[in-house]
Amino acid sequence: MAKLILKNGRVLDPANRMDAIADVLIDGDRIAAVGPSLDASGAELFDATGMWVTPGFIDMHVHLREPGFEHSETIESGSRAAAAGGFTSICCMPNTHPVNDSPTVTSYIVENARRHAVVNVFPIGAITKDSAGEELAAIGSMKKAGIVAISDDGRPVMNARVMRRAMEMAHSFGLPVIDHCEDLHLSAGGDMHEGLESIRLGLRGIPSCSEDVMVARDILLSEVTGCHFHVAHISSKNSIAMVKHAKALGLSVTAEVCPHHFTLTDDNVIPYDSNFKMKPPLRSSFDVAAAVEGIVTGVIDAIATDHAPHPGSEKMQEFERCPFGILGLETAIGLTLETFVHNGRVSPLRIVEMYTAAPGRILSLPRGTLSTGVIADVTIIDPSTKWTYDVNRSFSKSRNTPFHQREFTGGPAATIVNGQFVWGRSPDLQRDLQIPYLRTM
C-alpha cells in the first residue's frame, strides 16, 4: 500500500492533547506515525507547512436527500460538498423519502454511500415510523444496519410519552437520541424568529420558547431514562442555559450549534430572501451571543452544519412557501475560524475537538483522532489565506446559502479519507484541484 507523509504541519489532535509542528505518516488506510521529522522514504510527500493537520472533521448533522429528493442532493453530491468543506465523515438525517425508519432504508444508504460517496456516511435513523411521532421505528434493527443515532429531525416527537419510550429503547441499544427541539404548537405557521423583525415584515414568528420547552422536556426525560440526549442545532439563550444546568447535574446531555447560528441574527435576514430561512431560525443578538459564549465556555459540545439543500425552484417562491434550510458544509470551517480562532477566543485545539473527537464521542464513531493505527481520515486546513465562497461552484446540487460571495480568512485545503486524498484546493484557496488519486467510483 502507498505511503503518504504530511510534512511539517501544525498537528492538532485533541484526543491526544497534541498541538505541535509534526509530520503525519499514513500507510495505506491507517495512521502509521505522528511525530517530528519522520522518515519519509518511499512516501509521497505533502508539504503542510503553515497548515493545520487535524483528524478528519465530522459533521454530525446533514441532509443528503437520498432516497427520494435526488433533485436537491444525492449521497454522492453531498459527500463531495462535505469533502470540499473539509469533512471526512457526515451523519445524514432520516427525513428522506421513504424515511429512514427501517433497516432496509438504512442498508440502502450505507450501500449507496459505499459505492458513491467520497467521505464516510453514517446514517441516523428515525425515532418513529415515518417520523410521524406515534409508533417507534425499528431502532435495534437499524442499529445493526448501521445507524449511529436516532432522530425525527424536522418533525419532532410531540408526544412526551413516545419520546420517553424512544429514549428507553435507544438507551438500551447504546444510541443517543438527537432531537430537533421545537414545540410545533408554539411555532405553528412560523417563518422566522419571533421578534421585532418578524413583526415588521409581517411574518409569523417562531418563538425561542418553542425550542426551550422541548429542550426542558427532553432533559427531564433523559434524566428519567438515562438516555443520552443530544440537542440538535441549539439556537436560543435559554436552551443553552438549560444544557449547562443539565451538565452540572451530571446528566448525559450534549448539544451542537450550527455556524449560521453563531454568525447571523434575525436582523441580518434580507427581507423575504429564503436563503435566510431555516429552522431553528436566525435568532436575536443575545441568542447569538449565548451561542458564541456556549462555545467559548465549553457548554456546547460540537459544531454541525445542518446542511439542508433545496433546489432553486423551491427557494424561489413566496417566503412563507419556501422550505426551511440552507447549505452548510463548504462554509463551516471559514465561519468558525472567523468567529472564534482569528480573534483568539477559542484555541485551535478546542475548535478542532468540536468537529472531531466530540462528535466522535457522542456518536461512538471509531473516528476523530490521529492515534497510531486508526483509519487515516485527515483534514488539512489553511488557517490564514483569504478566499471567497462562490456557491455557483459548490459541489452540492443546490445553491441555497446566505454566504455566497462572503470573504473568509482560512479554510479547508485538502481532505483525506481512508488514506486517500478526496479533495484539495489550490494554494490560494480559490480553485478546486483535480486529485489524481481521487478514489475511483
Binding site: 413583526i199 415588521r200 415584515l201 409581517g202 411574518l203 423575504y272 417562491q317 417566503f319 412563507e320
Partner: protein
C-alpha cells in the same frame, strides 16, 4: 420609488407629501362630468390580485381609467396560478407583455418585494399578507387632512387585529413620520409588544377607553379570521371589549373621525350606528382611494 411602491416604511416624508399633494389635485375630478385625464394614455397596467378584493381592485381600475391608461385585471382563481404555475413564472410571463406597472395583491407577506428583485417591471403593492398596504395609508392620510390642517400632534387610535393588519403597519409608518401620537389597541394575542418598536411615537394598550381618550382619529380594523391559524381569543369576547360603540366617542375629541379600511363587519368590530354616524368618514376613504391611486400610478409610470 422609481421602481414601484412596495411600502410606506421606506418612503421619506417628502415623498409622501408629494403624493398627497398630487392626489389633492385629482380630488375635484370626482365631481366633474368628464372624469378622464389622458396623462397615461397608451400605458398598460396589469392588476394582479392573488387575493380577493373589491374596493382596492376597483379603485385601482378606476384610477387607471381616469388617467387614460389601459388596464387589465387578473384574479388568481381565473389565472394560471390555479393551474400550479409558480409566482415567478406567472410574473415573468406577464412582464413579457411589457406592462408599465403591475399592481399586485398577494396573501404572502413580501411577495411583491421578492418579485421586485427578479422583475424589471415596477410593482405597486396593493396589500401583501400581513405586511403593508401603502395606498391605504396614503388615502387614510389624505382623508384625515381633508378635516385637519396637518397630521403633526394628532392622536390616532388604531384598534383591532393589529398583528395581522397590513393597514395598521402602513399607517403606523406613515403617521409616525409626521409626528402623530399613535395608540395601538387590541386583544393581547393580536397586539404583540414589539409593535411599539416599529416606529417612534407608538404605544400600546389593551384598554379601549384608554386608547380612545382624546383621540382625533379612531381607525378600526377588521378581525382577520382568515389570517389566524388559531383562535387566539373567544369570539364572544371581542365586541364587548374591542367593538366601537357610540358611548366610546364621548371619550374622544369632539370632532373625532371614525375610519375603517373596509370591509366593515357591523356588530363585530364596529356598531352599526357608529359606522353610519356623522363622525364616520369611511366612504370618504373609499372616494379618496381613487385620487391617491391616480397619484401613485402617475408617479410610478411617468
Amino acid at each position: 420609488m422609481s421602481r414601484g411602491l412596495l411600502g410606506i416604511e421606506d418612503l421619506s416624508r417628502d415623498q409622501i407629501e408629494q403624493i398627497l399633494a398630487r392626489a389633492r389635485d385629482f380630488q375635484p375630478l370626482q365631481n366633474q362630468s368628464n372624469k378622464r385625464l389622458d396623462l397615461l394614455r397608451g400605458r398598460l397596467i396589469v392588476n394582479l390580485f392573488f387575493e380577493s378584493s373589491t374596493r382596492t381592485r376597483t379603485s385601482f381600475e378606476i384610477a387607471a381609467k381616469r388617467l387614460g391608461a389601459d388596464s387589465i385585471s387578473i384574479t388568481a382563481s381565473g389565472s394560471s396560478v390555479s393551474k400550479g404555475e409558480s409566482l415567478v413564472d406567472t410574473l415573468n410571463t406577464l412582464a413579457a407583455m411589457k406592462p408599465d406597472a403591475i399592481v399586485m395583491r398577494h396573501a404572502a407577506s413580501g411577495a411583491p418585494h421578492f418579485l421586485s428583485r427578479h422583475l424589471p417591471t415596477p410593482i405597486i403593492n396593493a396589500g401583501d399578507g400581513t405586511h403593508e398596504h401603502p395606498t391605504q395609508a396614503l388615502l387614510d392620510a389624505l382623508t384625515i387632512l381633508d378635516y385637519r390642517g396637518g397630521l403633526a400632534g394628532l392622536r390616532v387610535a388604531i384598534i383591532g387585529d393589529i398583528v395581522h393588519s397590513r393597514v395598521a403597519r402602513s399607517n403606523i409608518y406613515l403617521l409616525s413620520k409626521f409626528g402623530v401620537d399613535v395608540v395601538l389597541c387590541g386583544p393581547a394575542p393580536l397586539l404583540p409588544p414589539q409593535m411599539a418598536q416599529l416606529a417612534p411615537g407608538v404605544r400600546l394598550t389593551h384598554n379601549m377607553p384608554e386608547a380612545i381618550r382624546d383621540a382625533d382619529v379612531i381607525m378600526m380594523l377588521r378581525v382577520q379570521l382568515e389570517r389566524q391559524n388559531e383562535s387566539p381569543f373567544p369570539a364572544s369576547e371581542y365586541y364587548p371589549f374591542y367593538g366601537l360603540r357610540v358611548q366610546h366617542l364621548e371619550l374622544a375629541k369632539p370632532e373625532v373621525l371614525v375610519m375603517h379600511p373596509g370591509p366593515i363587519n357591523r356588530g363585530r368590530e364596529i356598531a352599526s350606528d357608529v359606522a353610519d354616524s356623522r363622525q364616520s368618514v369611511i366612504l370618504n376613504q373609499v372616494e379618496n382611494g381613487i385620487a391617491v391611486r391616480m397619484a401613485v400610478l402617475e408617479r410610478i409610470i411617468q
